[in-house]
């Protein structure tokens, strides 16, 4: 299964770390899109919809300037953008009320930083792979 992923985070370093983790997780990545905040994320979803190239997964930071992760989720739902793409919140603060609100509002999960490659692999596999299909093998030696 070849997947398209959108990573939304105001930190370019964290976006690259997440992309690297996805690439090492064994997923067949067709494309990874980057956005620096919720507004850019919505624009990426609009573009994907207009080009008929649906996204398969969205990783989204919680605290960002201009539009945070929770507001992005609510606006995405209001506009009915990428309704089938699971959304996973990324946070350094596991007890952040914004994360709990996002999960209650429909986010499919949350990953706390720091994470390991296994965390990412397990999360992605649970959301993207059919039941009973084994998770892909991690490649490389980085981000175990």
């Amino acid at each position: 299964m070849s997947v398209r992923v959108l990573i939304i985070d105001d930190s370019p370093v964290m976006r690259k770390i997440l992309e690297g983790a996805l690439r090492h997780s064994g997923l067949d990545l067709a494309e990874v899109l980057h956005a620096a905040n919720g507004m850019e994320g919505l624009a990426a979803l609009e573009n994907s919809a207009s080009e008929d190239r649906p996204l398969d997964l969205i990783l989204c930071d919680v605290h960002m300037p201009q539009m945070n992760g929770l507001d992005f989720l609510l606006e995405k739902q209001r506009r009915n953008l990428a309704p089938r793409a699971p959304l996973v919140m990324i946070t350094a603060d596991a007890s952040d009320p914004q994360v709990l609100k996002a999960v209650a509002a429909g986010a499919q999960g949350a990953i706390t930083k720091p994470f390991t490659l296994k965390h990412i692999q397990k999360c992605v596999a649970s959301l993207l792979l059919p039941p009973n299909e084994p998770a892909p093998s991690a490649t490389g030696d980085a981000h175990e």
Binding site: V13, A92, D93, K113, P114, F115, T116
Partner: protein
């Protein structure tokens, strides 16, 4: 309570484990305590504030060479990174350390919010911005022979 006593209170100061976890989980690198004196030649600092039921701050301070090495490690290769990217790497590390610390502080901390990292390249006489009575702990660590300093400060730690 004196700061020295508080430093022994593992409910409050679990910073060594938190820093080690960040490096181990994300980078598969060890990061060890060097001492309590600040690292020499600080060029970049990042600060995250914890506000609400608990007021605290997490400050990380990096020499430029260590910050560059951290960015290399985060991004998986050596390069002449732009300063903005190097500062972002330091800010992300501070964010993860502060988040890990908050999770160790107990139920009261869950009603507090973390700020986004504030980056600075100027070194002031005292970067602790907490007012009133508070306790502070400073540790210097090294990964790959590169030192950096973490300072935690907290108000009213007896309330935890």
């Amino acid at each position: 309570m004196k700061a020295g006593d508080c430093a022994q209170d593992q409910r409050i100061w679990q910073i060594d484990d938190i820093v080690a976890d960040v490096f181990h989980m994300l980078l598969q690198q060890s990061c060890n305590v060097v001492g309590d004196a600040a690292a020499a030649g600080i060029d970049i600092s990042a600060k995250v504030l914890l506000s609400g039921s608990i007021e605290a701050q997490c400050l990380v301070e990096f020499p430029q060479a260590t910050a560059k090495k951290l960015t290399d490690a985060f991004l998986g290769c050596e390069n002449n990174w732009e300063n903005a990217l190097i500062e972002d790497a330091v800010g992300e590390l501070c964010n993860m350390i502060a988040g890990g610390w908050k999770s160790k502080l107990g139920a009261l901390a869950s009603a507090s919010d973390l700020s986004v990292p504030a980056i600075s390249r100027s070194r002031g006489p005292d970067r602790n911005t907490l007012n009133g009575r508070h306790l502070k702990m400073r540790r210097t660590y090294a990964f790959d022979n590169s030192p950096f300093t973490v300072t935690l400060a907290i108000r009213n730690p007896l309330d935890i």
